[in-house]
Amino acid sequence: MRNTRIPFIHIAIALCCILLLPLRLRAEDAAEYIAIRKEGASRIAIVLDKTASDGARQAEWARSLDNTINKGLDFTGLFNLLPAPLNIRNAQGGALNLASIASVGGDIYAGGSVTKKAGKPVLEMHVYDTSGKSLLARAYTGDETQLRAIGLRFCADLVELLTGKRSVFGTKIVFVSNRTGHKEVYTCDFDGENVVQLTNSNSISLTPVISPDGNYIAWTDYTSGRPDLYIKNLATGAKVSVNKHGVCISPAWRPGTNTLVTTLSYQGDQDLYLIRADGTVERRLTKGGGIDVSPSFSPDGSKMAFVSTRQGGPQIFIQDMNSGQARRLTYSGTYNTQPSWSPSGDKILYSSMQKSGEINIFMINADGSRLLQLTSGAGNNEYPSWSPDGSMIVFSSTRDGKRKLYVMNVDGANQKPLLRMAGEQQQPSWSGSK
């Protein structure tokens, strides 16, 4: 294991180091703004002005920030990004002509400037609506090496202002890649940037998941020659293994706790067990009836979706964690696996092998109603995982040949590759930031 404890801690520190200096913070209640969004508009039409600067160094910073902010906002699929109209200012350095943004179809204006103070870049951003009302005025200061974090922090504030929700910025995706010739665990930022290799087992490492508090990572590894479960404390590097006889596979953390559920078979059948972060078994959750695998929790941790063959082929079931009562969720299709419960609690994603042999991603309400197919005609699409804010989905697809990671909006729109990386990538799990 190398490079293991770096990413989460460092990102957390980087974000904490950016000082937020309210200039004249007049952000109105986000709910009020959301109410005036055009009815039926699928995307927010925003005029994103170039960041103003004075001086060569500052101009470099401005280009970098513009690049980060443009790509960041575009990645979310929430925005229709518009260049500023030519008459956005009446004269060089003159007052903003906010009425002009409507002429290019914009509802919102965002722009600002970057200056150098005590050697550090200071990004001052302003957001207005067409009436000239100030929605946000905020300064972001950090080290020169933190320009990406500065830009993304503004993106996060803008999304929260305009949607009233948290954003994907600052989140991480853990996944598996075989680019070294062995399957190892990696992380990257929400947008595929900053890939870091977490394991170096030279074995087979599979199905990584980060704990809700960001302190632990759990995954399955064949280092011993068998599929054992490992749980690693990302801050201390301490690692424990669950090496029960049989398989130890497909872990999922229970929200609000440092316990996880995983499939063990040391008592015969492949059943689900609740495991503490120290690797000890707290209790058995399912018993008999074939394979039980791939757990995923409701956001309050009270219910668990999982795959079971208790009624024949693999189907998704939901079990109440207190009563132990289980009900079947999926009835369409004969091979339904990999449930992923939405952060909002009302939806469950899963993958289904269809009659054609193609595997596609579906979304169903947690009560079993309103089945939607999100992918089709583009190779095998598997392993859906919600972004922590519930606005996006990461998944693996063979649409371009090898298994690679892709993201899409929750309605299936805006499907695009997450990252360019050698080898195959699979089993993504989207995790919150610390």
């Binding site: 064949y222 020659g225 599929p227 398989v247 492949q270 394979i291 695998v293 092998m353 042999g357």
Partner: protein, 156 residues
Amino acid sequence: MIILAGCSSKSAVSTDDTSGAGYGSGKGDGAGAGVSVEDMGQGGRAGSVVGDIFFDFDSSALSSEAQEQLSQNAAWLQKHPGSAVTIEGHCDERGTDEYNIALGERRADAARSYLVNLGVADGSLSTVSFGEERPFDPGHNEEAWAKNRRDHFVTK
């Protein structure tokens, strides 16, 4: 450790590489000097010594062919009482990775139970599932998948 790998359409490969990395990649060729090599012809065919057995998609049920092969395997094991066997359960690439690890274990367990019922000492048998991680044939078609849905017997 000696792996006796019998599979259709490819000559049997013996290797001391228990990782299975040589499977289907040709890496086993020329490796493992000093390792005994025994050509077993068509794997899975009744009459092979400790030959592979094969499964239907998403199934761990033993076909009549698989049962015949297991009887042959049991006879060999009983003639060699000192030998220990690891039964590797494997799946084709279709379906969910972790589900296939569970399915591979059920395939290995099915063979183990069958062998024990035939009188093979339980203590001489162990099982491990590789799910879809170690395909014998890297192809993406039914011909390859049929070879990959298997129990593979590693003797030592």
